[in-house]
Symmetry: C2
Subunit: 409 residues, 2 copies
Amino acid sequence: MAILKMSTYPFQSTRLTMAEDDLQSTNLLLQAWYIRQEVAGSYNYLHLWIRTLEKVKAIIKSKLEAFWAHEIRMTSIGAREHREQTGRDKTVDVLFKLEFSDGRYHFLNPTHEEVVTPIMKEFIKSYKDLPTSVFQIQTKFRNEKRAKSWILRGREFLMKDMYSFHATLADLDSYYTQAIEVYHQIFGALGIGEDTYLTYASGGTFSKYSHEFQTLTPLGEDVIYVDKEKKIALNKEIIESPEVKEEFKDYHFEEARASEVGNIFKLATKFSVPFEVKYADKEGNLQEVYMGCYGIGVSRTMGIIAEKLKDEKGLVRPEHIAPYDYYIVPIGNETMTEKADYLAHVLEKKGYAVMVDDRAVSPGVKMRDSELFGIPQRIVISQKSLEAGGYEYQKRTSEEKKIVQEGEL
Amino acid sequence: MAILKMSTYPFQSTRLTMAEDDLQSTNLLLQAWYIRQEVAGSYNYLHLWIRTLEKVKAIIKSKLEAFWAHEIRMTSIGAREHREQTGRDKTVDVLFKLEFSDGRYHFLNPTHEEVVTPIMKEFIKSYKDLPTSVFQIQTKFRNEKRAKSWILRGREFLMKDMYSFHATLADLDSYYTQAIEVYHQIFGALGIGEDTYLTYASGGTFSKYSHEFQTLTPLGEDVIYVDKEKKIALNKEIIESPEVKEEFKDYHFEEARASEVGNIFKLATKFSVPFEVKYADKEGNLQEVYMGCYGIGVSRTMGIIAEKLKDEKGLVRPEHIAPYDYYIVPIGNETMTEKADYLAHVLEKKGYAVMVDDRAVSPGVKMRDSELFGIPQRIVISQKSLEAGGYEYQKRTSEEKKIVQEGEL
């Protein structure tokens, strides 16, 4: 449905008072009926948020598929036996336990390494089967002690997680470097590329560093150290390390607040060893498989974008992920509403998604809601605009209004 | 990614032996790497199954949006308080209980009436807000005592559920009748329209009948009574009722095996009463809201289609929901593989999705896999086909092979 008539739309705007510790964007998303809380840390997505999500998903998918990753969709229920194999039935403290009525129990997956590794083990036999990678966009569950503000990590949220499988650490390294580039492309397409930094974080046995992607935003929950010219950052955890200080001595870091939108790790053999994922090399000798994992907090990133791009009038949706492209406001008699419907169909034919505010409410309410919803472009059709020679056009990000003809849109 | 090269594809076919009580289609979906089981009743969707799912979802969405329903996405975690309001924290025996680390508990939603009703209550104030409807395609969880064969109801599965809200029972009746028509359109588009029957089932306080949509299939788990000419059916539960016998005395029913793909109910005030969802009528008097609910078992329907349309060679995917449109098999030297790549790009430009079997395996394996995967159209490029004047083209549903030129595809 590329035309939405507000007169038939259930999710009208609401006035809400804000709790003191809430982010302003959460309040705006509630007011504009993008979301509704079910329990702390778990949100229902309403129509405008679903449309945003679909666009975000499409961007992520297209970039990862161009990067030779295959989409899959793993279960929410994770087999207990798989977690026992890595010991992460005991060491992960945010697991939701599911008691089955047959007396056994399993878990809700907070991450999917224990699911993806046994699946891929069944396929990976030879060096010819490597490298390969799969990804999914799927719900994660975390039994958090306290649910934090909604855009931060909740109890039920959406993540994109990708897993890559390699014959050698060198091949993993090379893929990992390319993945960083793909991540920059994704965050660029989502409209936060400029302020999203590759951020060095502590590594593991097989690599000095892992990496976060941090987006600068004034109320971000993390403090990072940014070199804006060289376009990298360090996280708080490693900034004081003498080794890090030496390695980055030519950089000029400044402190900044940011929120994490993604993170990538070299898992190396952490999961292939317990699951015994091995391949036969050219000589027929069995070798361990190296793995990488690459996350993007999908719902979290959507929230961070809302927080980062809002203004005093409401949400500001970037063009590529806006739920609708145009918000048409007819003001006055029936003729104006008919003209609005006509224009909506013209724009729909051109491939745009259009909201038409044909409600029997005051022009002020319509104007205010168009701003609250954050739709990128508004068109007002009124006697006044027609006398001036067309429609009044205004971008959500600009104060400038101009009169345009149908053909200019 | 509209071109899939088999040489870079992880999920190659597998030979599997079948357990005696399994459906043949489950075995085929496992062999063709469409799915993998995580725990009994919960399946991981691999690449070809995800592509099928996306197509099925798109068909359902487009039909429901044309029917003025708004897509939303409700949470998997359902607030305990909401279920206490309807008493269905105690009466529903398939609830998975989630213990939160703060000591409280909630549930995983097996259905979403207790979520959608409070959301809509916040909006529905006046008769002007009605009718309205919302739908979602979302995971459901059921704590089944025994997980049945996978295409039947599992522990974790996908459903489309739609909920409608009305000022009067008459308005609900009218919407319900239209919904039946929309359901027929959906099952038609999914390729099972001809064998899917509106099936009368027992009703409730507010309506004589509810309705199932049952698809005829030899190993179906239900027995229904079908009038093939008049295109309706009765379920087992009501066939012996004297009232039903009287009402349907002019019909000619025959017994048939079928599987349920959808069901629709008039909930009437069952949920609006406990949640006190009321609207002000024209005179300003508060009235109860009437609700309808409309389900399609999305993953279940996908399984039923696989079971129904398979043949002795493997899966047979209907055109509209096939993961790929063409399967190209180059046979022989490098030139043939280059020709296959070229043709794949031509077809991709025309909007088709193409698998290219460029693996270093025998022609027999490629041919067998193209059939196992069930891709609707196969093109063989070989010295022999070129000498005959082009490519060898064959539909999955036909034995006929013909030589075609590029322009004919």
